[in-house]
Amino acid sequence: MRGRMNAGLLVGGVLVGMVVLAALVSFFWTPHDPTLVDAAGKLREPGDGYLLGADKFGRDTFSQLMVGARTTLYVGIVAVGIAAVVGTPLGMAAGMTPRGWLSELIMRVNDLVFAFPALLLAVMLGAVYGAGTLTAMIAIGVATVPAFARVARAATLQVMVTDYVLAARAAGRRRPAIAFRHVLPNIGSVLIVQASVSFAIAILAEAALSFLGFGTRPPTPSWGRMLQESQELLFSTPRLALWPGLAIALAVLGFNLLGDGLRDFLDPKLRRIRAEG
């Protein structure tokens, strides 16, 4: 038995689906080589096989967007993955021992990392290990850990005071089993929402880093770098900024909507709306 599809889930799913599709197809086919510099086709207008035109180096915008989707997803998955894998257990551990020293330690270190701007961290890592997609992803991931840990802790605290956790303890369950069988499934929907929101933030962060020159290196296409390169032509050829900007906005919107929609969809209590009499 599954819940009704809601509008947010549908729109979010379609937007995210488009990004994923573009990224997957780009492995096999793009209209043109997105990295091919073509002096003759410089600032080519849309049409004639170039759906969205070409940039100042003559590279096809549409092809760049497709491959850029790949970068975007790659960054999002790795960054959110790091944050979820590190942050969730930390948050759960803190939530399951609310009065212990462990909880204090985790949450204070968390505050410390949280207080440190993600972009600054990325710039520092970039300066030390060299700027690139990987350093950007790690920096964004590390900076997102506290968000996950906090959400996981808050949700765990709520689950730990429920009767079913008490019932599980009375049944003889130990802490690890309670963590995996009761806490994790019940905070899952909250984590999924957090993941999609973090995914959206990671996309923005990668775009910002690439825009600043600390993210994806040329010639790998990235939406953020496309924006940066279009900067000087913003008034003469606005379409060069419009398309990557639109792609970023829609992808971020898509992930946010998907997260909200999934939360409602996955909640068994909301699945069946019972009329109370």
Partner: protein, 266 residues
């Protein structure tokens, strides 16, 4: 059923539990609240023991202590002759195998994301006991169809959910069943079904029953012995019919007078 047969199964002596409120000032520690003060009780083998009290009486705290879910500030609890206070969870296995609980609200005491099969089997899995065909057997014993095993708690009515909770509690073949207000969240028309079922199971399986309720008339139907609690203490205890007929403590009298009845009207 003879009461007080043989040695006591549960023996609590001088139980006190002090909680500390979270501190609200940097210099002073949080205020201490005595939830339970010097409480002693004895539950015999096969006895049906009722604990009556209102919110804040300490009955929930007492229950948690008896079930080894919390530790007393002072005092001791012996279960079947063995001390349980202060034992770490890994050494409470004998208690978990022999004492199981049915909670008040079956909606919140059953994990909404687990299937009934896994819920009922949970005590067995947790204690490393064989599951085998036990789930089907238990569901039948509480009057639920075998197909119920594949479904989730929210697909059942309140009364059916409480049956699931009872099946789960009986899974490891405990000696003692602790029921914490098991019918107060249920509709009147199903309350009788659950109380009858509990009585049948206690009879058939020769269980000792600890039954907690705010309602003395329900306890009178179910139990032989009652302890009345108020403000963290047991104020009166004895055979339930005696307490009902001639309450000695002023609080018990007030409690009895306050219960609305149909009899007076008709």
């Amino acid at each position: 059923m003879p009461s007080h047969a043989g040695t006591p199964l549960i023996e609590a002596r001088g139980l006190t539990r002090v909680y500390h409120r979270p501190r609200s000032s940097l210099t002073k520690p949080g205020a201490a609240v005595e939830a339970l003060r010097e409480v002693s009780l004895t539950v015999g083998r096969g006895e049906r023991y009722g604990i009556v009290g209102e919110s804040g009486s300490g009955k929930s705290t007492l229950l948690r202590l008896l079930c080894g879910l919390d530790r007393p500030t002072s005092g001791s609890i012996r279960f079947d002759g063995r001390e349980i206070t202060g034992l770490p969870e890994r050494r409470l296995r004998f208690l978990r195998e022999n004492l199981q609980i049915v909670f008040q609200d079956p909606m919140s005491s059953l994990d909404p994301r687990m299937r009934v099969r896994d819920l009922v089997a949970e005590p067995l899995v947790a204690l490393g006991l064989p599951v085998g065909g036990r789930v089907a057997e238990l569901l039948e014993a509480v009057g639920l169809p075998a197909e119920a095993a594949e479904r989730y708690p929210h697909q059942f009515s309140g009364g059916q959910r409480q049956r699931i909770a009872i099946a789960r509690a009986l899974a490891p073949r405990p000696k003692v069943l602790v029921a914490d207000e098991p019918v107060s969240a249920l509709d009147v028309s199903v309350r009788g079904q659950i109380l009858n079922l509990l009585a049948d199971l206690v009879d058939e399986l020769g269980l000792t029953l600890v039954f907690v309720s705010h309602d003395l008339s329900v306890v009178r139907h179910v139990c032989e012995t009652v302890a009345v609690m108020s403000a963290g203490e047991i104020v009166e205890t004895g055979p339930v019919d005696d307490v009902w007929a001639a309450p000695a403590h002023p609080y018990t009298r007030a409690l009895l007078a306050a219960v609305p009845t149909l009899e007076g009207l008709l």
